[in-house]
């Protein structure tokens, strides 16, 4: 079977997890610079730069690893993008939201060791969720190969942004 031949490039899940950890930490630090006692103040250039750097790190790592996956296997699997990179599974998205929330909270209170710990735990859980999806995919490829619909992905992004906004407003 084709799915049994499919492998991930070296350090695939680890690098995605590390990129997620970096993105969580940079987002938390960026937002802490712009949050005053009464909520969100004006976003500074540094805040936007740190936020963009987190996203850029994730996009760069994901782009390189997905290209390596395609090169190595000669296949494209939509579920890999949505489940492993975008973290649309329950474990990955849940771990990400909790870790990001904890990291932002810690950064606002200047508890930097907690920011680092939350970020690393979030990244590790994300990587673990990705590995679990890959094992499930190899067992039942037809069931797991496809990505979620674009509508569902859009709703997930909107829900994440609303949650982030509420966290900052009612912290």
């Amino acid at each position: 079977m084709l799915a049994q031949r499919i492998r991930t490039p070296p350090w695939f899940f680890t690098s995605i997890g590390a990129a997620i950890a970096a993105q969580i930490a940079l987002t938390a630090v960026a937002l802490s610079w712009s949050v005053g006692g009464s909520g969100i103040a004006a976003l500074s250039t540094w805040t936007i730069a740190a936020f963009a750097a987190g996203v850029a790190v994730l996009l760069a790592v994901a782009g390189v690893q997905l290209a390596a996956f395609r090169q190595l296997n000669g296949v494209w699997v939509g579920g890999l993008l949505s489940r492993v990179v975008l973290g649309t599974g329950a474990l990955a998205s849940g771990a990400y939201i909790v870790a990001l929330g904890a990291a932002i909270w810690s950064a606002i209170d200047a508890q930097w060791w907690l920011v680092a710990t939350s970020s690393v735990i979030g990244g590790a859980a994300y990587a673990l969720a990705g590995r679990r999806w890959f094992n499930a995919y190899r067992d039942e490829p037809a069931r797991h190969a496809r990505r979620e619909s674009v509508v569902m992905l859009g709703l997930a992004v909107v829900a994440a942004l609303v949650g982030l906004g509420l966290l900052l407003i009612y912290r």
Binding site: M1, L2, A3, R5, R70, Q71, N73, G74, V75, W76, V77, G78, G79, P141, A142, A145, R146, R147
Partner: protein, 98 residues
């Protein structure tokens, strides 16, 4: 009772369609190696399935070489599901003496 699909009934085509369900897109040489068929046999089956809009092909690049990328269409997936249902219905209740 659901009917078997004549476009999918040949074993090689059934294997090809089932293989395509495991991926969103696959490179020609990869699926050829997975199915252990020749280039010409695979091309022939792909052309037949493309004629009924069950698969689609596009030109692309893999490892620096020009190649063809193949994927199952939504119609192809529906046809395969219906064919599998028909197979299940056909053999349902059949027991073989031991």
């Amino acid at each position: 009772m659901a009917e078997l699909d004549p476009h999918v009934i040949a074993p090689a085509r059934l294997k090809l369609m089932v293989t395509l369900t495991a991926v969103s897109e696959v490179e020609f040489g990869t699926v050829r190696d997975a199915l252990e068929v020749s280039d010409s046999v695979l091309s022939k089956h792909l052309a037949s399935l493309e004629d009924v809009d069950y698969v689609k092909r596009r030109k692309g690049v893999h490892r620096g070489r020009r190649t063809t990328w193949i994927s199952l269409t939504p119609d192809g997936r529906r046809a395969l599901d219906a064919h599998i249902d028909a197979l299940h219905a056909l053999i349902d209740g059949v027991t073989t003496p031991r």
